[in-house]
Symmetry: C2
DNA sequence: TCAGGTCGAGAATGATCGTTCTCCGGATGG
DNA sequence: CCATCCGGAGAACGATCATTCTCGACCTGA
């Protein structure tokens, strides 16, 4: 097993464990065991647990945004692209190991105590807002900034609600419905009513 | 110092520390020092850290909901009462020690590892939804359940966004604006447009 | 004054954790 | 065949933490 493979296996194990149980709840020994990499190698690849956490969050951020972008890019019409965000969420929420937003969780756990973690969480949300803003601009919203802000609330709210839900009602559907309403409101002076869901 | 006062001082110190820095980041010794209560007494009042965390979350839940209800009850008109939720949030977000929702944070940190914590967090959000539902019913929304769900997304999203924000834009205002839009949409068949903020 | 009880301060205990070190087997190069 | 390096397994170290224990001071009631 070469260095690169060890690196990846460690990061895979760390992601699954950190995300699934919380960062402070999993020790380096457990990551070692789950990855099948020796402790020595582990510390060659990542100088400290802090480094590993950093790498975990960075890779997750990149993958998450890429997956979201791919989901959006399956659609052409600006409205559909915007609403596709919530379809992406719905699919994510149905993942068997879904446990909320890794960044919200990490921020709640370590945000007050680790500036790097707080910074990565903020950067993740900032990038999400930029993505939503771009969609709002595409959709010709009157005030794209305001729409982006409001959509961000819906997205984050849906993620939190989905993480804690006990019922099977899908917060992504609720968010999508709300987003349709907001989008419609932001377009109301120039375009026809979109309140009724278009067939898809 | 009698038992009751010790109990309260411990809980006060624990709340400030747990909320401000995260539960696992603060040790019993620090709570002892901050509360000025001896370790022996601390363990007489709370049999374990788990107990203390439980009590912290229960008291915070009760106080938070009571403060919200009081804020709502300053208004009479159903629309005002509903939107007052976001004024409550705005005031909360401006608190100097604001660090997001204690329950979202606790859930992210311990939800996967402690069933009591997960249960308390879920109960907190469940009560919030019930409160929003009541407001939606008062306001004669066509579908109070759906409106409550959507408002819940806005509230939780606003809390998360406020916890992480770097700018001084207030997510509570964004949430309020979005809520006005949603409320209006839910009333559109029966009542006049409320999109324009009423003077207050 | 004494016996009994309570309390605070902080040391002791036992567990866990991040990190480093030791030791050994095996691969490699001459 | 030998010397050298590298990696794996896991013991060792030092720190921290939750929890308990010790000890001495202080109060109380007779």
């Amino acid at each position: 097993m070469d260095r690169q493979e060890a690196h990846d296996r460690i990061l895979d194990a760390a992601e699954q464990l950190f995300y699934g149980r919380g960062i402070q709840a999993v020790g380096m020994a457990e990551i070692r065991q789950a990855s099948g990499v020796s402790l020595k190698r582990l510390y060659q690849c990542f100088a400290s647990k802090e480094d590993l956490v950093d790498a975990y969050l960075r890779r997750r951020d990149q993958r998450w945004h890429q997956a979201l972008a791919e989901h959006i890019d399956r659609h052409r019409s600006p409205e559909r692209r915007l609403l596709a965000v919530f379809d992406f969420l719905a699919a994510w929420f149905d993942t068997s190991d879904f446990r909320g937003c890794a960044f919200i969780n990490a921020f709640g756990e370590l945000g007050a105590v680790s500036t790097p973690v707080a910074g990565l969480a903020r950067a993740h949300k900032c990038a999400l807002r930029a993505q939503l803003r771009a969609l709002a601009v595409e959709a010709d919203a009157e005030d794209a900034e305001a729409l982006a802000d409001q959509l961000l609330l819906l997205v984050e709210g849906a993620i939190v609600a989905a993480a804690m839900r006990q019922t099977h009602h899908c917060p992504a559907e609720q968010g999508k419905a709300a987003a349709r309403g907001l989008l419609n409101a932001h377009l109301s002076t120039t375009t026809p009513d979109l309140s009724a869901p278009p067939g898809e």
